[in-house]
């Protein structure tokens, strides 16, 4: 078990290395440097700036310098946000993005699992069809359409329920206050709720028809016990392998959500960096995301092996 985990962890290192290498050279073959402006700089100043950022050295030396710094956890200075290093910018946005993403994934799993189970238990009933139609909508409507629509309904027009005003702020982070988090988290998790509900329904339907569930019923267990203790455990297995893609989807969604709601997370830095050609910032965030996704896939694989005793650790 432990050796399996270690082997997988070691296997992730070359993957990360290849990603860093590809990203680095792709950035360097890009036409136009980060300091190309409308105004021509005097050659000496341009030379000094380039020297300060090691841009005057040959590309392979820049690459080695970058790798060396990276090994020490230094992602380099941001080209466009003067006085900030990429590491500082990421550290700045990370708590915000993490809080947002974590809430979204928890919400997605909780709701997706419940809705999928209900749909499976009421297979081909009205409840099943309405949940699956909602899931279709959730999968099809992209976040950048859902976000403005929900903002329009709950933020701009305002909604009151039983005489209470339940309008929500249309943007801003406000230190992570609950009211500010509701809309972004819902928008971010909706597509994932939809996919998880579909996956759960599919595997749950299959499991409910299997022999051991019939045995459990025949033993006289209550249907709650059958579903929660016996069926659900087998039915969540496909979900575990969906965890990696789900995180990737939430990372992608956070680019848009942070932009729309004006949330100061890493996603916004990435988009700003891409718009301003801030190479080091974009590269830094990409490495960060890639590491995160690789690690998460690894955890998902190990979790899968723990949950499903049929999986052997060999290979």
């Amino acid at each position: 078990m432990l050796s399996y985990a270690i082997r997988r962890l070691l296997g992730a290192i070359p993957t990360l290395f290849i990603i860093i290498t590809i990203a680095f050279f792709m950035m360097r073959i890009a036409p136009g440097g980060p300091f190309d402006s409308q105004r021509r700089l005097p050659p000496e100043i341009e030379h000094n700036i380039k020297a300060a950022y090691d841009l005057d050295k040959p590309v392979y030396q820049q690459y080695l310098i970058y790798l060396g710094k990276l090994a020490r956890g230094d992602l380099g200075p941001s080209y466009k946000n003067k006085d900030f290093s990429v590491g500082e910018l990421i550290a700045d946005g990370l708590p915000v993005s993490a809080k947002l993403g974590l809430s979204a994934i928890i919400l997605a799993i909780a709701f997706g699992l419940t809705m999928g189970t209900i749909a499976a238990l009421r297979q081909n009933n009205a409840a099943d069809y309405s949940i699956m139609s909602l899931a279709m909508i959730g999968i099809t409507i992209p976040t950048f359409v859902m976000a403005p629509i929900l903002t329009l309904i709950f933020g701009v027009y305002g909604v009151s329920l039983f005489g209470y005003d339940i309008s929500l702020p249309v943007g801003g982070w406000n230190g992570g206050a609950l009211r500010n988090m509701i809309l972004p988290v819902i928008v971010l998790s909706l597509p994932q709720i939809a996919v998880i509900a579909r996956l759960t329904r599919g595997s749950m339907v299959e499991v409910l028809h299997s022999n051991y569930v019939r045995t459990a019923r025949a033993k006289g267990l209550s249907s709650v016990q059958v579903v929660v203790r016996h069926a659900l455990r087998a039915a969540v297995l496909p979900l575990v392998s969906y965890l990696g893609p789900a995180i990737a989807g939430i990372l992608t969604g956070s680019l848009v959500v942070e932009q729309i709601f004006g949330i100061p997370g890493i996603g916004r830095y990435f988009v700003q960096g891409a718009l301003n050609r801030d190479y080091t910032l974009v590269l830094g965030v990409l490495i960060y995301y890639a590491t995160f996704v690789i690690l998460l896939n690894l955890i998902a694989d190990i979790l899968y092996a723990v949950l499903d005793p049929r999986v052997r650790y060999a290979r």
Binding site: T15, M26, A30, G32, I139, P142, V145, P148, I260, F270
Partner: protein, 310 residues
Amino acid sequence: MSLTADRTAELVGRALDVKGRSLWEDARRRLFRNRAAVVSIVTLGAIALAAVFGPFLLAYPYDYIDYSVVSCAPDWWPDPSVLCNAGGTHWFGTDSVGRDLLVRTLYGARVSLAVGLIATLVSLVIGVTYGATAGYLGGRIDELLMRFVDVLYSIPYIFLVIILMVIFNRNFFLLFVAIGAVEWLTMARIVRGQTLSIKQKEFIEAARASGVNGFGIIARHIIPNVFGPVIVYVTLTVPASILAESFLSFLGLGIQEPLTSWGVLISEGANQMETAPWMLIFPALFMAITLFCFNFIGDGLRDALDPKDR
């Protein structure tokens, strides 16, 4: 009663008259019995026709700026306080610099459908070639090739497209290719898996025995046989590409003004939604309908081509 020669001939003749149904005919029948898929095909056809021919029939060019009708609601808009009597010919209203929104929405449809087709074609060519090669050659080379796919898989692909866009400076055509160039991964995996099982079959052995070279086997014998799953996946790649383009355009990293796409229009509409909701509603509606159609067609095709999955 024994069969006379005449009777036998007649029976054989009748048997020959019965036309066999091929796999593809069966699939087509099943597809056309699926109501959601048929409605989607018709709707999508209508949107495509409107996108191609609509702009020629409308009175306004897509980049015609008219400051006398800035942010005008369409004449039939229910809220009379935002009407500005633009003359009745702006059926979807106008945008913040007075351009006709209907023509711009249709132009957006052109861009979106084009991106769907071109990107999918690119991903199809790369994915099928790559997957078939890896699966056919097998062994070390297969492992190396698929390892590369795994590596790329571990980055959310939209980030790769963003980097490609940063590098190529938001070039219109390269945007399409860039999206296709990152969407071939799943295609390659599907094709490789299929190839691995097909290459064990006797007809491949027969082809090899009669002296067909590796390239010929891949091109003439393997690729035609992986088409079923590939077609299903193609119908899912098209909306994914449309979504990717709109996503980038929404962030300002895709199509640039005065050209437009649904993502650009939705982004503008989202900025103005408090005062001019029609600028958001129409492009968003068109896009949602298109995506729904592709999803239903994809589902229908999967059911049609893989009946055991139902």
